[in-house]
């Protein structure tokens, strides 16, 4: 019995850690939805694209090499360099800013004042475009992502908990890093939005587009800014998830893990994305532990969405979302 208790505790802790990983993806959705009312279907693909770019730059891969070789009959593959992780991350962040500028200039600018469903569909198109672009630029093979993050069991935690409880807890060091990074990210985003000129402008746009425009805030600039930040958050999510599985095209599916988090935490709340992630992560792991064996297992995806559905029924705006009441 004590072992079962400690195991349940271990499952809960690991669920919380997994939840942080889901939150990292959900954060990107929240940022864009909050600032522009767009549900960005492409957020998962942004994470994939960022991770592909990071690995490509780090390993000195020539973008579009296959296409160039096919057209010009050349045989180029790499620049021959290996960049330090931090340099590659900074360069990738710049690429994501460039991508945000292009998205604003060639997609969003033309869709100002369109219905949210039109903008949503535009992001579906963007997702497929970016997935194809990533494939042509960097290739579809699986790439190992190594920016120096630790991975594997934390021996210190295992031995300490064993001494205390007679049960050594498993905590993945990568998950611990992800938790710290998520905390830093939320703190930075909060400070940015509360205490900087651009952060205040971003909040003004989020509150009322028309009012923000009337006081001289550039909607186009704000969109570039928020898509850049979302691109950076996608890069962070891509690094964390890519470190677990390698960088491969299934990374875009991590968005599926973020949806119940958003439904639960609310689409407009940064703390909601974190708390939602923690609840979903811990809830699905505990459900799998207690109920999974009775129903054949593999319940996590199912449970996450059912839990989110329950929240929707009783609190449609999510835990921390803004309640929207439209009166006729």
């Amino acid at each position: 019995m004590p072992d079962t208790f400690f195991y349940a505790l271990e499952v809960s802790l690991n669920g919380l850690m997994a939840g942080v990983m889901y939150s990292l993806v959900a954060l990107g959705f929240v940022l864009i939805f909050k600032a522009s009312g767009i549900f960005n279907y492409a957020q998962g693909v942004l994470a994939l694209f960022a991770a592909l770019t990071l690995v490509g730059l780090q390993n000195g891969q020539v973008p579009f090499a296959h296409l160039i070789n096919a057209v010009f009959g050349t045989s180029i593959h790499g620049f021959g360099w290996q960049l330090p992780g931090i340099i590659a991350i900074l360069l990738t962040a710049l690429v994501m800013v460039g991508l945000a500028i292009l998205i604003e200039r060639y997609i969003l600018k033309h869709l100002v004042n369109q219905e949210p469903i039109i903008l949503f569909m535009a992001t579906i198109g963007l997702a497929y475009f970016l997935e194809g672009l990533g494939d042509v630029m960097w290739g579809a093979d699986i790439k190992k992502l190594d920016v120096g993050l630790p991975q594997g069991i934390s021996d210190a935690i295992e031995s300490t908990t064993y001494e205390w409880f007679g049960y050594g807890f498993f905590i993945d060091r990568l998950d611990m890093v992800a938790a710290v990074v998520a905390a830093l990210l939320v703190a930075s985003l909060t400070l940015f939005s509360q205490y900087t000129k651009y952060g205040r402008a971003l909040r003004a746009v989020a509150d009322d587009h028309q009012a923000a425009l009337s006081v001289g805030i550039s909607l186009r600039f704000i969109w570039v800014l928020v898509w850049s930040i979302a691109g950076f958050v996608a890069l962070v999510a891509g690094i964390m998830w890519g470190s677990k599985s390698g960088v491969q095209f299934s990374l875009s599916l991590i968005a599926l893990k973020a949806l119940p988090v958003l439904m639960l935490g609310g689409f407009t709340s940064i703390p909601g994305a974190i708390v939602g992630g923690l609840i979903i992560g811990m809830g699905e792991k505990l459900f799998e532990f207690f109920i999974g064996p009775l129903v054949g297992g593999a319940t996590e995806n199912w449970f996450a969405y059912v839990l989110a559905l329950l929240f929707l029924v009783f609190r449609p705006q999510g835990l921390f979302g803004e309640k929207i009441i439209e009166r006729v």
């Binding site: 195991y7 271990e10 499952v11 690991n14 669920g15 850690m17 997994a18 990983m21 296959h66 070789n69 009959g73 997935e131 194809g132 494939d135 290739g139 579809a140 093979d141 699986i142 790439k143 190992k144 992502l145 190594d146 991975q151 594997g152 069991i153 498993f170 993945d172 998830w241 677990k244 599985s245 390698g246 491969q248 095209f249 299934s250 990374l251 875009s252 599916l253 991590i254 893990k257 699905e284 792991k285 799998e288 532990f289 999974g292 054949g296 297992g297 593999a298 996590e300 995806n301 199912w302």
Partner: protein, 429 residues
């Protein structure tokens, strides 16, 4: 404007499934180069295409007939796979190899109705090995139940012939494919006295913390894996994370490619998998592939997958198909064979080691001889182990035969149930 759009749409549709010349032999390639399973689909499709390109460029095709391989993208999606089948079957398709168990299950009744053979080496419906019931389906040289049996036989060898009291966990993709070995392993657990623990993983398998915490707690002696795509890489990484001994972790052949072990780096060292053919590029056929396909600029895809496990498997599938076509030409005395004649070729196919040597693939695959009743082949498999520092698979064993004493009744039972459900009269009597 509307006319331009309509013309563009028509051109796009026509281009998506290129129509072959009517006199050519048509072998559609239902591939997946996009989506989450693309890293597995691309090398397989490249190996498949390259082998037929080699035959066309070096030999002028098969029996003097060029082979056309129109490619259709399924994205490993069952509905799209069926659409591809419907879109290509009218072009004179001789055989289908959809590289998906889900698509295979959907196509089994269709190919029987349309009279086109379905070749599913190492995947698909296991009981299709019974040719008495499945006239149009062939899955030699080995199937999932063979794989499960070979894995257990290998573990028996490792344990002095006794697995009683041992605990074996099966980590599997929670799909028709992943569930295939459960029945066999359950029977084998009864026979050999080991405990089987089932650990399902939902598609796509990007998050497996619960499963590996369970394995850490249950402490199985061995873990078997039936995974595909990202599930394999994450499982191997998670196994390394909990310090599970890699030499006790064995994947099926769909969990044994470079894609699966590369992301975990050194952590994957010692991981084992089944293999139904050799791998690497140390076979004479590769010299011809280099000369006639790659150096000639006719390689499929980026041309960077040569010698990988899945490239080898795609090439192997193409080789067997081409041999079946050759056999059909021999039986019917015509080079321009049709699908029904190719089925006869599959059923009469015999691949000997001498023939493999002629094809430039010595010791690459197991010899087999199909028959009216046997569409499944001998079912033997190798065990290979990943060397992370050398970044290569090393073969640990020769071909290990499965336990037919357990498998044959299971195949008969399952195929009989299928025959009863579908009012199929047994043949070959």
């Amino acid at each position: 404007m509307k006319k331009t759009f309509a013309a563009l749409a028509a051109a796009a549709l026509a281009a998506s499934v290129a129509a072959p010349a009517m006199a050519d032999l048509v072998v559609p390639n239902l591939s997946y180069r996009t989506g989450p399973y693309a890293p597995g689909g691309i090398p397989y499709a490249d190996g498949f295409n390259d082998y037929f390109t080699l035959l066309n460029e070096r030999d002028g095709g098969i029996g003097g007939e060029k082979v056309q391989v129109p490619e259709c993208e399924t994205a490993y999606n069952t509905e799209k796979g069926v659409e591809c089948y419907e879109a290509t079957k009218g072009s004179g398709a001789l055989v289908y190899n959809p590289l998906s168990t889900g698509i295979t299950y959907q196509l089994i009744p269709k190919v029987a109705a349309d009279g086109i053979p379905l070749y599913t080496p190492g995947y698909g419906r296991t009981s299709a090995a019974n040719g008495k019931v499945f006239e149009w389906v062939f899955n030699y040289p080995a199937n999932y139940w063979d794989a499960a049996s070979v894995a257990v036989k290998y573990l028996l060898d490792e344990n002095g012939g006794d697995l009683s009291g041992k605990k074996i966990a099966l980590v599997y993709h929670n799909s028709a494919y992943g569930k295939e070995p459960i029945r066999t392993l359950t029977e084998l657990s009864k026979k050999h006295g080991f405990t089987l623990v089932e650990v399902p993983v939902d598609h796509p398998g990007q998050e497996q913390k619960s499963q590996w915490l369970q394995i850490r707690r249950d402490k199985p002696d061995y873990v078997l894996m039936w995974g595909w795509g990202v599930m394999n890489a994450v499982a191997i990484q998670e196994a390394a994370n909990i310090n599970f001994p890699m030499e006790n972790f064995i994947g099926v052949w769909w969990s044994g490619s470079e894609n699966d072990v590369t992301p975990a780096g050194d952590g994957a060292n010692g991981y084992k998998s089944l293999a139904m053919h050799g791998t690497g590029s140390d076979y004479p056929v590769y010299a011809d592939l280099k000369k006639y396909v790659h150096d000639a600029g006719k390689a499929s895809g980026a041309g960077d997958q040569v010698g990988s496990v899945l490239y080898s498997r795609g090439m192997y599938a193409a080789m067997v198909i081409s041999e079946a076509i050759r056999k059909a030409q021999e039986i019917h005395g015509t080079a321009a064979v049709n699908a029904a004649q190719v089925r006869d070729g599959f059923e009469a196919l015999e691949i000997t080691e001498a023939r493999m040597v002629e094809l430039g693939l010595p010791n690459f695959g197991q010899p087999f001889a199909a028959s009216c009743t046997d569409h499944g082949g001998p079912g033997a498999a190798l065990i290979q182990q990943w060397d992370a520092s050398a970044k290569k698979w090393n073969l640990l064993t020769g071909f290990i035969a499965p336990d037919d004493e357990v498998l044959t009744p299971l195949v008969m039972e399952d195929s009989a149930a299928f025959a009863a459900e579908n009012n199929i009269a047994e043949r070959c009597n």
